[in-house]
Symmetry: C2
Subunit: 200 residues, 2 copies
DNA sequence: GTCTATAGGAGGATAGAC
DNA sequence: GTCTATCCTCCTATAGAC
């Protein structure tokens, strides 16, 4: 029972790493098993299929983004709300290993397209982008709002192997992202809550 | 000889489409052949391997970006140069089907990682990002410069299925990208050349 | 929980006829 | 240039012993 949980978690860790490095379809269950020192069949005790491993990886993220979107939809569609959405998304991204899941997701868009959980994840991200932009605004403004999410994701890509801490990355990305969604015209509403609260 | 060229081109078109929709590894040569109404073996007359199809797709892009980088490295590292880099990259992207190649490339990062041409493409894009940012500048400024490229690529993702023309997309993306690399402090140098000249 | 063994299929690639 | 036929490899997944 204890090893049960442990092995399951180790499978997830190794799978996430290999899926991100070599791609979902480029990684076989044999490789995962070998790296763990077990056989393929052992994996099937913990996960019904290969897809299920992915499902177990992304389901937490899907739920977190859904919560964020649900919150956002109850707020007024102001710049202040958008800025808070960005703050919460950023905090969540840097909490735990969540950004690693997003990297895996980004790099395997096509492979995950044929999977229920993959499509769900994609749909939620699109919902979030839609929530961030005002469809009546000029295209340039809409694009900048959407780019804010990209900014938060892109830090690891842009500042690769530099001697930069994760905290530095997060700070810079957040600052740029907030700038992209716009300067709040309504500072009263903006700071009414805890600005750096996480999602959970 | 005439059909030779034709079939080769049709293979490239179908392959690009399927690779982009379903992923490189998720698309079999059988699928490509079937859609063209030929057999797998016929593909092997035109391309030595599956990798070779990818190579034929990206090699033009690699060359174009290399030319752009070569040009950029000869210029002073000013905001004006960066703005011109963005303009040229944007013009090139919208000339022909180049942005479709980039979409394919973005969506298949992991799969292309094991291929020589894929890595070359990736390295050139990283070179371009490095050329656009000043390593001594604050992280936020560097991030914004890099994001400019993302802005040019992201338009199709952000404004999906809207009734927006490609020209509108390009215009908005270019405006945002130019804003991200910074306002030119040196307007004299900036407009010395033809501002919308393409790469070739 | 993990193993051996294997089913069952699909994929990339090649040989050789036409 | 395109076809048929085939090889070989690797994959996901399952059955059943320990």
């Amino acid at each position: 029972m204890r090893e049960n949980v442990d092995t399951r978690t180790r499978i997830q860790q190794v799978a996430l790493e290999l899926f991100t490095e070599q791609g979902y379809e480029g990684t076989s269950l044999r490789e995962i098993a070998e790296r763990l020192g077990v056989t393929k069949a052992a994996l099937y005790y913990h996960f019904k299929t290969k897809e299920d491993i992915v499902g177990s990886l992304v389901q937490d993220r899907i739920a977190a983004i859904q919560r964020l979107i649900a919150w956002g939809r109850e707020q007024p569609r102001t710049v202040g709300t958008r800025r808070e959405l960005i703050r919460r998304y950023s905090a969540d991204l840097h909490d735990g290993r969540h950004h690693e899941i997003m990297r895996f997701f980004e790099r395997n868009q096509t492979a995950l397209r044929n999977q229920p959980k993959g499509e769900m994840m994609r749909d939620r991200m699109l919902d979030l982008l839609d929530l961030l932009r005002d469809e009546d605004a000029p295209l340039t403004v809409q694009l900048k709002c959407s780019l804010a999410i990209f900014a938060l994701h892109a830090t690891w890509f842009v500042f690769r192997e530099s001697g930069i801490t994760d905290a530095d990355r997060q700070r810079a990305a957040l600052e740029v992202a907030l700038e992209l969604v716009g300067v709040s015209e309504d500072l009263v509403g903006e700071n009414s809550g805890n600005p750096s609260v996480t999602l959970r």
